[in-house]
C-alpha cells in the first residue's frame, strides 16, 4: 500500500516548556517517553492523506497527545491508579497537586498552540472535545460501585470519554483545512463513535483476559467496583445472587464458575457478534466517506478500514 509522506512527529520537547519549572519538565519527560502515540499517528495519517502540510500535521498530532496525556494524568489520580504503562503514575511519583497542574498546563498549551494556528472552528471543536472528555470522566466516576448501570449508559460514557478522541482524530484535519461540510463531518463523527466503542469494548474484554496480548491485569475493573461493558453484558438475565457472587470473585476462574463457564462463552460469542455488526456499520460509513473525498484522497479509506481490526480484534 502506498504510504503517505509523514513528517517526523515531535510531540514533546523540553524547550517548549519553561526551563524554570524543572519538575514539570521531568514529569512530562516521564509521561511522554513510553506512550505508543496511537492517536497522534492516526491524526497525522488522516491529515497527510487529505493534503495537510507538515506544520498542520505536527500541530494536530501534538494536540491530541497533549489532551490524551492530560486526561491520563487526571484519570490516574481520580481512579487512584498507581501504575501507568508499568511505571509509577505521576501523582504517586510527584504529588497529586503537580499531576493536576501538569494536566491543566497541557490543556492550556493546546489552546495556545491552536490559537496560534488561527482556525477558530478548530479551536471551538477542540474545546468541545475536551468538555466531552471531562463529562465522560465525571459520569464514569459516578458509576463506580453502581451495580445497576446499563449497557446504554456505558456506551454513552465511552462515547464521551473514548469516542471523543477518535472523532477528533478523524474530523480535526478536515476542520484544519476548512472543509466544514456538515454531511462529511456527520460521517466522520459516526466512524469515530464506532471506533471509540470498539476500542473501549475490546479494552473491557482484556479485563477478562480475552485477546489480552499485552498482559493487562485481569479483573481490575470488577475489583475496583466498576461494571464495564462486558460485565454488564455477561450479567444480563442472571439472578441477583449469581451476580453478587461473580462481583466478589477474586480470579477469572472464580468469576466464570459463578456465572457458569458455558454462559460466559455464549455471552462472549454474542458480544463479538454485536461488535461485528458495529464493524460492518463502520465499513458502511467508510463507503459513505468515499464520496466526500477527492480521487487523490481515496487511500484514506484503506487506512481507516484496517482500524476496526486493530482496535477490536487487537491485531497489529
Amino acid at each position: 500500500m502506498h504510504e503517505p509522506k509523514l513528517p517526523s512527529l515531535k510531540i514533546y520537547s523540553a524547550q517548549d516548556f519553561p526551563a524554570y519549572l524543572p519538575k514539570l519538565n521531568q514529569l512530562f519527560d516521564d509521561l511522554f517517553r513510553d506512550g505508543k502515540g496511537f492517536r497522534s499517528k492516526l491524526v497525522a495519517r488522516v491529515a497527510a492523506r487529505v493534503g495537510a502540510d507538515d506544520r498542520c500535521i505536527q500541530l494536530l498530532a501534538q494536540t491530541i497527545e497533549f489532551i490524551h496525556n492530560a486526561s491520563l494524568l487526571h484519570d490516574d489520580l481520580i481512579d487512584r491508579s498507581v501504575l501507568r504503562r508499568g511505571k509509577p503514575a505521576a501523582w504517586t511519583k510527584y504529588t497529586p497537586e503537580y499531576a493536576v497542574l501538569a494536566g491543566d498546563y497541557l490543556l492550556a498549551r493546546v489552546m495556545v498552540n491552536l490559537s496560534g494556528y488561527g482556525n477558530v472552528r478548530l479551536i471551538q471543536y477542540t474545546a468541545e472535545m475536551i468538555s466531552d472528555l471531562l463529562e465522560g470522566e465525571w459520569i464514569q466516576d459516578s458509576l463506580v460501585g453502581d451495580h445497576a448501570v446499563t449497557a446504554a449508559q456505558l456506551d454513552r460514557v465511552h462515547n464521551l470519554k473514548t469516542g471523543s478522541l477518535f472523532k477528533w482524530c478523524l474530523r480535526s484535519p478536515f476542520h484544519a483545512l476548512k472543509r466544514d461540510d456538515p454531511h462529511l463531518h456527520e460521517v466522520l463523527e459516526n466512524c469515530g463513535i464506532i471506533l471509540g466503542l470498539l476500542f473501549q469494548r475490546s479494552d473491557d474484554l482484556l479485563d477478562f483476559d480475552v485477546r489480552n496480548h499485552e498482559g493487562k491485569a485481569v479483573l481490575g475493573d470488577l475489583k475496583s467496583g466498576y461494571m464495564n461493558s462486558f460485565t454488564v453484558f455477561v450479567f444480563e438475565g442472571l439472578d441477583e445472587g449469581v451476580k453478587s457472587r461473580a462481583r466478589a470473585a477474586q480470579s477469572l476462574g472464580e468469576f466464570k464458575r459463578a456465572v457458569g463457564e458455558s454462559h460466559f462463552d455464549e455471552r462472549l460469542a454474542a458480544f463479538d457478534a454485536m461488535n461485528l455488526k458495529q464493524i460492518e456499520l463502520y465499513a458502511h460509513n467508510l463507503q459513505r466517506l468515499r464520496s466526500h473525498l477527492a480521487a487523490s484522497e481515496q487511500m484514506l479509506i484503506e487506512d481507516l478500514s484496517r482500524l476496526s481490526e486493530i482496535l477490536y480484534w487487537r491485531k497489529a
Partner: protein, 391 residues
C-alpha cells in the same frame, strides 16, 4: 495466560445498511420509516433505524438516517400477540382504568338513579381505546421523527426493534382512535340534552391535548406541559367526564375524585422524565427534570408524594367519606415509602438506580387502583347497590 475463549471470530452477519438523506431522498426515507417502501416489501424485510449516541440528533432533526435492513425471517420476532401487547403497553392503562372504574364504583354507591350498564361499558372501552391510541400514535410519531434512534427513548421501541412496520402501528392507532370516537359519540348522543357550550369546549380542548400528546406536533409534551396535561386528563377530566356521561351532571365531588389519579399520573410521568434527565438535557428537551435539574427533580418527587397523600385525604373528607376508602390510603402510603426511598438513593443523573423508576411508579399505580377496586367491591357487596347496577 490466554483464555480458551480467545475467539475464533464469529461468522459474518447478513446485516446490510442503507443511509438516506432527507434533502435528497425524502420519499424513499418516508417509505423506509413507514415500512411500506416497495423495495422492503418485495424483500420481505424491515428497515430498523440504527441507534445513535448523539442525543443532539433529536433536536437537530439530522438530515441523514441509517437503517439496518433485516429480513423478517432473520428477525426471530416474538409471537404476534406478545408484540401486540408490547405495542399497546397495557401496563400503562392503569392510569385510565383506575379513575374510570373507581368513579363507576363511587357513582354506583352514591347516585340516586341506577346506572346504565351499556353507558358504563362504552365509557370503559372508549377510555382504554383512547389510551391505546395515544400510545400507538406516540410510538409512530417518535419513530417518524427519529426519536427512537436513541436507546433510552421511544417507549418500548416496537418500531425500532422491527416488531411491526410503521404503517401497521399507524393503522392500529387509527382503529383504536376510531373505536374511542365511536364510544364517545354514543355517549354524546345519549347525553345530548345535557350538552352545554362549556362542556363542548372542554371536550374539544381535551381531545386537542390528547392528540398533541400522541402526535407531538408542537413538542408541548417535552416543554413541561406534558405533566400538566397528564394530571388533568388522567385526573379530573376522566372522573368529571365519566360522571357527566353516566349521570348527565358533574358534581364538584367528581372533580375531587380525580385528584389522586391525576397526581399519580403526574408522579409517573415525572419519574419517567427523571429517568431520562441526562439524555433529555443532552438533547436540549425542556422537560421539568431537564429544566429544574437533578436535586430539584428529587424534591419534586417528594412534592408529588405529599400531593398524592393530600389528594387522597381530600377525597376521603370531601368527596367520598366512606370507611372502605381508608384501604387506598393505606395501600398508597405503604407503596410510596419505598418508592421515595429509591428516589432519595439516586446519586447522580447517570445512576443505575434511576433505571426502572417509572416501572416502580406504575406498580404503585396498580396497587392504588386495586385497593380502590377492592374497597368498591367491599362497599357494593355490603349494600343493595350491586343489584341496581344491573337493573
Amino acid at each position: 495466560m490466554k483464555s480458551e475463549t480467545d475467539a475464533v471470530r464469529p461468522q459474518q452477519t447478513s446485516a446490510r445498511f442503507v443511509t438516506l438523506r432527507q434533502d435528497q431522498e425524502a420519499a424513499r426515507l418516508r417509505g423506509f420509516l413507514r415500512g411500506d417502501a416497495q423495495e422492503l416489501l418485495e424483500r420481505d424485510a424491515v428497515a430498523k433505524p440504527v441507534t445513535t449516541l448523539q442525543a443532539g440528533a433529536l433536536r437537530a432533526q439530522t438530515a441523514e438516517w441509517t437503517f439496518e435492513i433485516v429480513q423478517l425471517a432473520e428477525l426471530r420476532r416474538d409471537p404476534w400477540w406478545r408484540r401486540a401487547l408490547r405495542a399497546l403497553r397495557p401496563e400503562t392503562w392503569v392510569l385510565s382504568l383506575a379513575p374510570v372504574l373507581s368513579t363507576l364504583g363511587w357513582l354506583a354507591a352514591t347516585s340516586a338513579e341506577p346506572l346504565s350498564a351499556w353507558r358504563a361499558l362504552a365509557a370503559v372501552i372508549g377510555v382504554i381505546a383512547l389510551h391505546a391510541a395515544m400510545n400507538l400514535f406516540g410510538d409512530y410519531h417518535d419513530h417518524m421523527r427519529g426519536w427512537d434512534r436513541v436507546p433510552e427513548r421511544g417507549a418500548d421501541r416496537v418500531l425500532a426493534r422491527g416488531d411491526f412496520r410503521g404503517f401497521e402501528i399507524l393503522r392500529a392507532a387509527w382503529a383504536s382512535a376510531g373505536l374511542a370516537a365511536l364510544c364517545g359519540a354514543l355517549l354524546l348522543v345519549a347525553n345530548f340534552a345535557h350538552i352545554t357550550w362549556k362542556a363542548a369546549l372542554l371536550l374539544v380542548m381535551v381531545l386537542a391535548v390528547v392528540l398533541e400528546f400522541g402526535i407531538n406536533r408542537w413538542g408541548l409534551k417535552y416543554r413541561g406541559l406534558g405533566e400538566l396535561a397528564a394530571w388533568f386528563f388522567f385526573g379530573p377530566w376522566l372522573t368529571g367526564g365519566l360522571s357527566w356521561a353516566l349521570t348527565g351532571s358533574i358534581p364538584w365531588s367528581a372533580w375531587v375524585m380525580g385528584l389522586p389519579f391525576g397526581t399519580m399520573a403526574l408522579l409517573i410521568l415525572h419519574l419517567r422524565n427523571f429517568e431520562r434527565i441526562m439524555i433529555d438535557s443532552q438533547a436540549g428537551l425542556g422537560t421539568w427534570p431537564a429544566r429544574a435539574g437533578f436535586e430539584a427533580s428529587k424534591k419534586f418527587t417528594w412534592f408529588c408524594a405529599i400531593a398524592l397523600m393530600a389528594s387522597l385525604a381530600a377525597l376521603l373528607v370531601f368527596a367520598d367519606p366512606s370507611p372502605e376508602r381508608f384501604l387506598p390510603v393505606l395501600a398508597t402510603s405503604l407503596g410510596l415509602g419505598p418508592l421515595v426511598g429509591v428516589v432519595r438513593s439516586v446519586r447522580s443523573p447517570s445512576g443505575g438506580e434511576l433505571h426502572g423508576l417509572s416501572q416502580r411508579g406504575l406498580r404503585l399505580a396498580w396497587a392504588m387502583a386495586l385497593s380502590f377496586w377492592v374497597s368498591d367491591v367491599i362497599r357494593l357487596w355490603g349494600s343493595a347497590v350491586l343489584a341496581r347496577i344491573f337493573s
